[in-house]
């Protein structure tokens, strides 16, 4: 990997190592500051095809298409994007597509922006009611281990898995 290295202590390095260990070849995202270094690492990697989306539901269909063609993928988004995907999640359930998303949480820990709270509070239930297995990471160590487990579970056992990266872990955004 040329042109990028994680800062010392950036726990996202462990998540990226799991992408590589599990053979992730497509990464789709709607940006979030909490994912910024991970997004840069993926862009710097010649073996990962990165797609920036206009809305998160595109990423659900995109990674389903990738899986049809034999490629593993992962989607990065923030909690506000989860609600945008709900009907598209039916594609995963109807066809039993493997799917992994890593979600930076807003609206749950020292949140400054009240507009983030409704979707942030509904995120976990939305995933569960859409048929996902949901992990919640509160430490950097958890984030890496859960990313690896999510990828294996999804692609070995045909599941949809979401890893929520808690706002306490990421740090509340300051305005």
């Amino acid at each position: 990997m040329a042109g990028f290295s994680f800062a010392d202590g950036d726990w996202r390095a462990g998540m990226f190592s799991q992408f590589k260990a599990c053979g992730v070849q497509q990464m789709a995202y709607v940006p979030d500051a909490g994912h910024a270094s991970l997004i840069r690492a993926c862009h710097a990697d010649d073996e990962i095809d990165c797609t920036v989306l206009t809305t998160e539901e595109e990423g659900v269909a995109l990674l389903a298409g990738a899986e049809l063609g034999g490629m593993r993928g992962v989607m990065l988004m923030q909690s506000s994007g989860v609600g945008n995907c709900v009907n598209m999640f039916s594609l995963l359930a109807s066809c039993r597509f493997p799917f992994v998303t890593l979600v930076t949480m807003r609206g749950e820990w020292a949140e400054f922006n009240p507009w983030q709270v409704p979707m942030g509070q509904a995120t976990e239930d939305t995933f569960k009611r859409s048929g996902f297995i949901v992990y919640r990471a509160d430490t950097g160590e958890d984030a890496a281990a859960m990313t690896g487990s999510a990828l294996r579970l999804a692609y070995d056992s045909n599941c949809a898995v979401a890893v929520l990266l808690s706002q306490r872990l990421i740090g509340a955004k300051t305005f």
Partner: protein, 189 residues
Amino acid sequence: MIERREAVAGLLKDRPEELLVVTGLGSPTYDVAAAGDVDRNFYLWGAMGGAASMGLGLAQARPGSRVAVITGDGEMLMGLGSLATIGAKQPANLAILVIDNEAFGETGGQTSHTGQTTNLAAVALACGFRKVITVRKPEELAGVRQLLLEEKGPVLAVVKTRAGELPRVLPERDGHAIRLRFKAALAKP
């Protein structure tokens, strides 16, 4: 006037074995199934707005295969942002065909945006598609076939067709079965 069923059958006649097709829900799924229930077709029966994005993910995973998304105006309108995403990625092997009857045909034929002000080919071009065409006459379909199967993507063709219902041709609708059939076809040597 172009008849959709006939047009799709002509566009897919003697299709290259390598061609992978993703269909948008509703009439495009029936049109493609009527043209031949090939195991390299992936039929969507839902996930409205997702056909083009699915085609992009498949095209990126199979750079050696041509991928054609065949969908309707209503489905394409729901995924309009995906045209921007595809424009940004420039997949050379992806073509989109919009069967445009300017109506939401499954739900009573209500007039869609393309029957009013929206020009989908112009939208795709503005998003960075390499080539787009809109046709209204049967004699123009040879150009659509060329664009769909051969020209460097991303490309998009809009085929304006007569509105109105045709007999439904219903392929498999269990999504898991469709997925496994498609993947098994790709796994064949």
